[in-house]
């Protein structure tokens, strides 16, 4: 295992120490692995909390700041944080107007945030929850764990963060979050596995001439494996299932996201392929993100996220945001 780390069991806390040192505008609680804004938002505004396993940086800690999250709860690598920590974050950032929990649809995240919401409501904090499930690689079925929450989480955190910042109430923020989740879809692929520090070796073996299509963000193998293909073919395999699942004709925000070990030069190349396919299908790309936003440790590969938008969502998108991972207008 080749990583810039000390002992595998110390990766999370030592990395959080770096976050704390690098970002005086954030508060990092090393006991609970909760990252909050050093200066909380005004009383009377909805607070937005997200969290999940670590290893997806900048998600979620890198998205804490004005215009986006109020708190992020970091679990161990790829392991949902525990309810008490989510509850601690919820309590810390509640400004009397309730708290939105943004939860990616994984059994562990759902169960831990559910317990945390129970704990919070026992303390009189109103909690709303959105469960993000945008991954079209996974069949959506009532009889399974359902779709995973992946790339759309980034866009959703930005948009509902802006809504909360401008003072929308909890019901409105929850409804907005669910609307966004309803009209966004993602699909990912991997060129290599990632290596969980505690495991010490790659989660799956992928021969030099093979790739995984339909991967998640935890080094889970994908839906199928096939021979390595050119970027144009990979783009097709990511975009087609997204377009097949939802009618995206019209304006959209599009993200081409790197899984952690894929350099920017490749991501831009993929973006050109993806944009061409989407525009052919009548999607007008109104805004875009190209870069590492929701990663899978040192996995090489990428994912594509498409979110249908209207003027209201674009307005929220363009609102100022000031976080380590996403910043404009501030």
């Amino acid at each position: 295992m080749k990583k810039l780390i000390n002992a595998p069991e110390d990766v999370l806390v030592e990395s959080l120490k770096g976050v704390a040192l690098a970002h005086p505008e954030l508060s990092v609680d090393l006991e609970t692995s909760v990252i909050t804004r050093a200066t909380p938002k005004e009383q009377g505004k909805v607070a937005v909390v997200s969290g999940g396993g670590s290893g997806h940086e900048p998600l979620h800690g890198g998205f804490v700041g004005p215009g986006m999250l109020d708190a992020a709860v970091a679990g161990e690598v790829f392991t949902s944080p525990t309810p008490d920590r989510v509850q601690a974050a919820t309590k810390a950032v509640d400004r009397g107007a309730g708290v939105l929990h943004i939860v990616k649809n994984y059994t562990g995240d759902v169960l831990n945030f559910e317990m945390a919401a129970e704990l919070a409501s026992m303390e009189g904090i109103e909690v709303g929850t959105v469960v993000v499930d945008d991954d079209v690689a996974v069949q959506d079925s009532l009889y399974t764990a359902g779709r995973r929450g992946v790339g759309l989480t980034v866009l959703l955190e930005k948009l509902v963060g802006a809504a909360a910042e401008e003072g929308q109430d909890l019901a409105a923020v929850v409804e907005l979050a669910k609307r966004i989740n309803g009209q966004g879809r993602s699909m990912g692929m991997a060129l290599t596995s990632c290596t969980v520090p505690a495991a010490g070796k790659p989660t799956f073996d992928l021969p030099d001439d093979q790739m995984e299509i339909g991967i998640g963000i935890h080094g889970e193998p994908g839906r199928h494996r096939e021979p390595l293909a050119p970027a144009s073919e990979i783009a097709r395999q990511l975009v087609e299932p997204i377009l097949a699942d939802f009618d995206f004709a019209g304006p959209a925000i599009v993200m081409v996201n790197g899984m952690g070990a894929t350099p920017q030069i490749e991501l831009y190349l993929m973006y050109a392929e993806v944009a061409a396919l989407l525009e052919k299908a009548g999607v007008q790309i109104a805004r875009n993100l190209v870069g590492n936003y929701i990663t899978s440790l040192d996995m090489a590969g990428c994912s594509v996220t498409v979110l249908k938008v209207d003027d209201e969502l674009l307005r929220l998108w363009d609102a100022p945001v000031n976080t380590p991972g996403l910043r404009w207008g501030a």
Partner: protein, 213 residues
């Protein structure tokens, strides 16, 4: 032995902790194949926290002991297994009452409640390829053995055997719950990691009871 003291319960928990720690790499390997390569680390971390907690002084009654184990797991594991195993022990503790020891019926009722807690949280059904598939047969086997008049040592051994069989039976299944369900057909051909840790849970229960009989 007709009853189980809290010492025996503590011995069970401690054997379970030792066993998942010893087998953490195997559990993580199972989770690498169809999950995210952390089940061994999760269980070892949780049971280490439990060990610390109980080391500082174990409660004298079964309910306090089991609830403490459950709370510790909930607040130290995370992932799917944290709330699930945590709920299992919490529900056991809520069922036993403030007793210093459990009889066979009391143990069976507590384990059944624990199982139901897992179902309440995770909504798993038989054949979904989860820890349920090892735990449900184990609890059923325990009930059946007790109904047949078996002693605790025999009954828990039968439960352990049923858990192991349930674990093995997860291999061909296509997962319908948890992270493995994302793999669809590709999840077949692998043991479920949670079922594997549950088989260890029942094996160490039987060992603790026969060891102290």
């Amino acid at each position: 032995m007709a009853t189980i003291s809290t010492d025996t319960l503590v011995d069970w928990i401690s054997r379970f902790g030792d066993a998942v720690t010893e087998k953490r790499e195997w559990l993580t390997e199972l989770d690498s194949a169809i999950g995210d390569a952390d089940h061994g680390a999760n269980m070892a971390r949780g049971m280490a926290a439990v060990k610390d907690k109980l080391g500082a002084g174990a409660p004298a009654t079964a309910d306090e002991l089991l609830k403490s184990v459950g709370m510790t797991l909930v607040s130290s594991v995370g992932g799917a297994s944290g709330p699930l195993y945590g709920t299992f022990f919490l529900r056991m503790g809520m069922t036993t009452g403030a007793v210093p020891e459990l009889d066979a019926a009391g143990l069976a009722a507590a384990l059944r409640a624990g199982l139901e807690g897992i179902v309440a949280r995770g909504k798993a059904e038989a054949g979904d390829k989860t820890m349920f598939d090892a735990m449900a047969p184990a609890v059923d086997a325990l009930d059946a053995a007790i109904a047949d008049g078996a002693d605790l040592a025999t009954a828990t051994r039968k439960a352990a055997d049923a858990a192991a069989a349930g674990r093995d039976a997860t291999e061909p299944l296509v997962a319908r719950k948890g992270r493995a369900s994302y793999l669809g057909e590709r999840s077949a051909g692998h043991l479920d990691p949670g079922a594997a840790s549950t088989a260890i849970l029942f094996d160490t229960l039987a060992a603790a009871i026969s060891g102290s009989s």
